[in-house]
Symmetry: D3
Subunit: 315 residues, 6 copies
């Protein structure tokens, strides 16, 4: 059975999908309709369900799996589903919502292994203990959360996948520039976004939490370091701890991007570059994946609304 | 005996002053000279000491009180001392350096009283306990530190004086806008700059500390709240605590001014306005105090280098 | 009988409201419908009237009072009326449009009294005469106009209400900072927005006038001072008059906000802060008034689209 | 006898010049010296007079003509005079200061003629009368003042010269774009900078006046129109008058350049372009005049510190 | 027979128009409709065609001429066609698409003559040969292309019309400022936008080409000069050639507007001003042409969304 | 024999150095002195030579090697030489200027090898031929030029060293993100700054050339590709060539940094990041190399004047 984004425009299909959003609105003829957003592992797509009955409105809730029959249509440049029929997936059918969540393209075990390997590059003992402790306390969330609500790595597991991808760059950079302090770079890198496990609500229908909105993941992260220091008896005023916090606090690179201090450590500056690079590659790649050779991609909002060109030749 | 800024241009004088800075440089004729900055309670003024001997260079160190004879001169629009003679203040003379430090114009007891009064407007019990605890722990520094290294309230006691001045505005505003939450506004106000007791080195020759440079007073303040919560057993995830932290974190008003989150509470927004207003009045007043009626003041760098006009009529 | 914003979502109601806007559009089925905006003292709300006849289009004009039966609905986060029936209010019913205009929450007499009291703080005789004369010439408009077309204090009487609210802050500030020149601050404050009585068209369906668009209220205000000087025989080149004009011209604080000169008087700078503070409190309060505890408000466009949080605890 | 800028570097000379500035400073050897700025019609140049006696300091005052003997030297890329001897010009010598003031390169009569010709393109009778009246009231200042304190056309007569130069462009543009309203364009153009006759102090050692600093020439100009309307009995609320004021108020083009309103008339927008164009040509030409072919000019501060290249080929 | 913009609101009409755009969408009732954009020489206007059949969708394609019967309607301030009937123009009817394309208001021969005249002001022989050669190679495109995809001179022939309009200003300016190098100014002016003949796809349904998107017309222009130098044997490192390229590369005036170098030649700076001036006049005039006296025009997006006022009096 | 930066403050020394700058100025006592800048492989340092004779001025020219005796002094935070004696290096002494030029820390052969290796990652044949041809034509300059006049890699050989350092990052990134087109990334990377061999004058006393100032290295590079295409018979409109040019043109990342087009290829965007990262590491490292543990470095101007902290612990 095919996936949402494998269907060609104009083709009819019948597939299982997850309801990601379901807004009930009133049509111009006065009758209610449901504006759906369907999702499977290939991505998500909108579709309108006209003249919905009260019963249908109650039945087709966010988080339910449905069997959807329809055509793939096009509305102002974006693909859309023209719904022909819709029913809830029944027992015996693939009705587990987690089957339909977009996921990263790498096994969890492999990710964990890479993170664990990286810990050995943290030679400074205080930083090593702090990073291990925080990782172990937030392990489950760290390996299942997205890296962001939208934009880059906004999928289940995206947070740890983004971290591993950055670690690969960091390892190469540590070899190229041996003057770098690996404890600060690797330690700061692993922790830099872990505050998102508290800033965001989780992998499914991700929202900002109350604490996330009021304090932000950068300050939350800094607090985690303090708590752990207190738990395992490390003086938070020691140079390595203050510098580790600095790396985390400064990793957005500029005040206007939300860092309360500008980078004043080489490693803090470099972490900002690596983070930026990986997020940028991820955003561009995810639109180019849906772009044919010789065409331009959809616009990417956080990259000044630029679209990108998919060349005809490879390599 | 008169003060530095009471002497008129061209007049000769002999007064006791503190050496605030003493840079040894080489003159174009190859001989060393000392570029002094002298200070008393009326302000500070530069003066060059030509052809200094090795002995004089060793004797006239920063922090020493000297008896200075000279003329008040003018160099490119700024007052300057033309040094005629210089000797260390001896025993029996007023040689205590603290006599020459610029101070705020209000008694400490009065300041303390106003701060204590304000605590009664913090009705929310968690916030009340947190604020009292932090105040008591940093009491000495809070009442002696300046509010900044330069710019506004950059004098001994400036930090608490600035806080009291803001409290007066806050009280008036609480009466005008009864919808404001006084626990958040007053609590946040008292704490908003207390992180400077750790960010700065003290009242004399104020510098940024290591922690101050690496973390900044906004994050330091947020950490103080966490530590105190842990000490007195308050859950830091309670709404009042999270909101108190938000007020402190957001009080610079914009990300580019160093707040890691923008104000999302009415009280955080208002605190930013009050802080700004008091700092602005202080900066303008301190230049207008040295400006004659009908003239323009010196330029104020943090206010877009504007100069201000001193009107001829009063009230 | 309840008001528009007292009805809960989903409830049916029947109430008298004013038609604030009535745009005739063509539905996708080709038939005309009316996009209404209804208003009473609690605020205003949209509602669509489908398949309108020619007669209905003629009858339901802006400015008419109607009896409206419907449900309170929700459209993309904003409350909306689902219209069940609509008829003009008849004689004997509350059909006076002025009953439905949103008004400030303070009696006109009280406002006038406060303004008159403030005049006694203008000790400089020229400024005092100018302010009294301008006030008396624009009295009616001053007490009925809004302070703006939208954003803050955009309601009948908003202009004088905003002025009085600012006067309260100014009085407190004059006590806290005795160095302020009260003639310039109070005089400038009372006049600062009075040019809006010429820039705007009035309290009902407020628009910019021709002069308002071409010259702006800041220059209009400056002209008013000149005219009055000429009428009552004051030399417009006298220092107090020039400074009063400066305060008015500079009160937007920065060139990019429309002031032709930057503040070069302490009082001009302070007036800008007070104006900003009162407008900000007003905008935030008016969205928080419609926000339940523990929730976030609607976004405020002039405040960088921020939403604000309504705490669960009071005071 | 040659002029200051006709002397080659390294050459000795003896010429009459005006003292434009004479700052008495103290040298590092403790003795006073005078930092002179000399001027003749070719430009102005600095020179230091070492070990000045009290008598010399009193004698060589700003505004006096002196006979100067010296070498042309070079200090960090700028020409400088190395003073050999200096004495006051005596009776019978060319000691009239006005002989040494930099002047525009056009006769006053020619300028007046061009301005008078342009008046005939103001067909709208109200605008015509207003412009004529203002011109006649400020005639003397208009033909002797500079157009600015520094930057462009900062020389005696520069104001009217700049106006005539702009008029030439305006006439060409009126022919190219017949849709333009010549009354508004020509009327606004002639008046646009006339407020400088009040904003600035005059042709010699030009400073901002009190009114200039507090109100700025844009608002001063708008006031002039009001005064004249009142004097000659024209209703200031008539469309042509309001639009003429708009053209003047908006001619800086953007709020951040000091216009209280943005251009909302085609003619206001065009006037801004013409003003900009003439000022830019004037600034670049005045540095290129001192630049040899194949070399780069001095940097121009108001043009983003750019330097300009003088080509080797002409036309 | 009248034109689209000659019909008054509410009037019924029957006229021939070109289909400029035809988007097929699904109405809320599930049926397809066509969102048309019709065009004739007076401008273009939208209209919805409800419940379109498959056959109609195939028939009414972009580029076809149709006979349109309808009313002129108004939708949210913009004119709109309410379609009553629609059929393809038949043989014997005016069905040539080029009849309906908006065109400039000047004959091609006249334009060519003016361009040819201007060539005589390019005295420098290398520049003269380069400009003539490039012109002759791109002659057809140069006289038929628009000057832009939208905004200013976005009509057939707009590129050469814009060039001639700028030439008129340049000629006047060369007389006013004789210091200008006419070879560089006129040569650069004629070439400045000729790269658009490669950046854009043509006069009808103008799009950016692949090269246009990837390199931009500024670099394309610079390459043209190189190619021509190589073809006619001119050394591209000669001063006149390098400067001609500079003028073309720098004519956007600032890096952020897409010039890879800032103007460092007086002529490059001036060309930027002339370009700007003509584009601005064109944009404002085209909205004022559709604005009644005493009213405000539509907003112009590239001019900070300003609207412009159409005065009641002429000249 | 020690180097300039190996001498401690206050120590006396006698070493051979190159004269990098020698400005003759007049001291306040009227006598000429020479402001020297001396250089050896450890860096460069200023020193004043008082009361210079005509003969000395002629002898001590830029580019000469001298034997310098003096003390290491400190002037306003920067190290300075206090000159005791100075004489030209004689025959038999190390008087070859190239011995004193600051050089990169890598052998040329190693650099060449790395560049040659990288060519094998350019699989697209047209790009491969273009890159090889340009490299071979500019080989000597490519391996001896600096990467910039100042800021980063501003030393002999800096251009190729910077390129190799970037290649190392690029290789790592190509492995991490296999979706990248290595022909475009590696080809664009090798060429991206090669235009500097024409923009700059060479390794010693580097200046911008005439073409460099007028066209800039980005456009020069684009021209090189065109010339080479023409020489080796490749159609410059082929997709790979246009894209290669795009990568080079867009590598500054934003218009305001001098790219005439924004990146629209993933590889162009990535190249910008790699360039930025390597330049940043180079700038920070070169100030941290001169900073002791626990101290702050000098400020780096292109990095918002930030200083960086040198941690006490390594790795």
């Amino acid at each position: 059975m095919s996936l949402l984004y494998e269907v060609k425009e104009g083709d009819e299909f019948g597939i299982y999908v997850l309801i990601k959003a379901a807004d009930v609105r009133t049509a111009r003829n006065g009758k209610p309709f449901i504006a759906f957003r369907f999702q499977d592992r290939s991505g998500s797509m909108d579709g309108m369900y006209w003249s919905a009955t009260e019963e249908e409105i109650n039945k087709f809730q966010v988080g339910r799996v449905v069997f959807l029959r329809g055509d793939r249509d096009n509305y102002q440049g974006s693909p859309q589903v023209k719904i022909k029929a819709l029913r809830l997936a029944e027992e015996g059918e693939p009705n587990d919502p987690t089957l339909y969540v977009e996921r990263i393209d790498m096994k969890i075990d492999e990710i964990k292994e890479q993170i664990n390997d990286a810990l050995f590059q943290i030679h400074e003992p205080n930083i090593n203990r702090i990073v291990r402790k925080i990782l172990s306390e937030h392990e489950e969330a760290f390996y299942t959360f997205p890296a962001a609500k939208r934009n880059h790595h906004a999928m289940a597991g995206g947070l740890s996948f983004h971290t591993v991808s950055m670690l690969k760059i960091a390892k190469a950079i540590l070899e190229i520039y041996p003057q770098l302090n690996s404890s600060l770079l690797i330690g700061g890198l692993i922790l830099h976004d872990i505050g998102k496990t508290i800033e965001l609500s989780g992998a499914i229908s991700t929202e900002y939490t109350f604490k996330g909105k009021m304090l932000g993941h950068i300050v939350i992260m800094s607090e985690m370091i303090d708590q752990v220091c207190q738990q395992i008896g490390i003086d938070p005023d020691k140079e390595p701890v203050v510098l580790l916090k600095h790396v985390v606090l400064a990793h957005h690179g500029k005040l206007e991007y939300g860092s309360p201090v500008q980078p004043r450590l080489l490693e803090a500056e470099i972490l900002h570059h690596i983070d930026n690079l990986d997020a940028t590659v991820n955003m561009i790649t995810s639109v180019l994946d849906k772009t044919e050779p010789g065409k331009e991609s959809a616009q990417i909002y956080p990259l000044e609304r630029r679209s990108f060109y998919q060349p005809n030749f490879r390599k």
